[in-house]
Amino acid sequence: MSKHEEAVEESVAEMQGYEVMFILKPTLLEAAVVKKLKEFDEFVKGAGKVLMADNMGKHRLAYRIKQCNEGIYVVYDIEIPTSFVKEVNQHLRIEPDAIRHLIMALPEGYTYAKYGQEEETEEEKAARKPVSAAIKPKPVLRKKEVKPAEAPKDEGIAPSPIDLDAKLNKLLEGEDLNI
């Protein structure tokens, strides 16, 4: 055979890893979703094999697609020959319930990791400042100043000015003075 035909045969039989992600409509029930995933599984198994399947669940979309604000995200890791990619694309394009899809070639050393479902570790929680209710000001406790009991004032008789003058004169003239 010529070199060109040999090269075409090799590229057709070569298996390559791909990642497929598509969004389903949110109005589907769980039984319908399981049915759709089974159909896709059988469609792929005819030509290759499925490495990993994951249903990410319902998420909110960043913008509206076909009058839908939410969507069910599904991720597949598959290994198929390079000539089968066009048919996968066509299958997802025709599907009425799949509103968006993306096919990506897997780089070397790729492992699937789940994002968005990791819980915060305790360190990160402690680093974050806790949200507390409005702090009420503490009442400042002051020592009660015990004032000494006030002695009753000796009011006495309020002296009138006239009496004072008379008193003075008496004292100055009196015999008791010792100067």
């Binding site: 992600m21 960043a62 913008y63 991720v75 968006r100 050393g109 790729y110 990791a113 994002y115």
Partner: protein, 80 residues
């Protein structure tokens, strides 16, 4: 998910800025981890240049490709 993220490297002069993906030893950037990708976009959800974030050129090309894929799959918005 990158452990150490340097997204605002403007405090340091250009010679002292470090690439987050080189320090974490990440060769491939995943379009699914929205938490790291959000650090490299500004308030209007535009991609920041690598002069301001300190990312090296090879990783900046992969970063922009990952952000564009996430936008296509409605994980990130195009516009605020």
């Amino acid at each position: 998910m990158a452990k150490y993220i340097f997204s605002t490297n403007q405090k340091f002069p250009p010679g002292k800025r470090r690439c987050t993906f080189c320090t974490n030893q990440m060769e491939n950037i995943d379009y699914k981890d929205v938490k790291t990708l959000k650090h490299f976009t500004n308030a209007f959800q535009k991609i920041k240049g690598h002069y301001y974030t300190g990312v090296c050129l090879n990783h900046q090309k992969k970063l922009s490709q990952a952000i564009k894929r996430a936008r296509h799959m409605a994980l990130l918005p195009f516009v605020n």
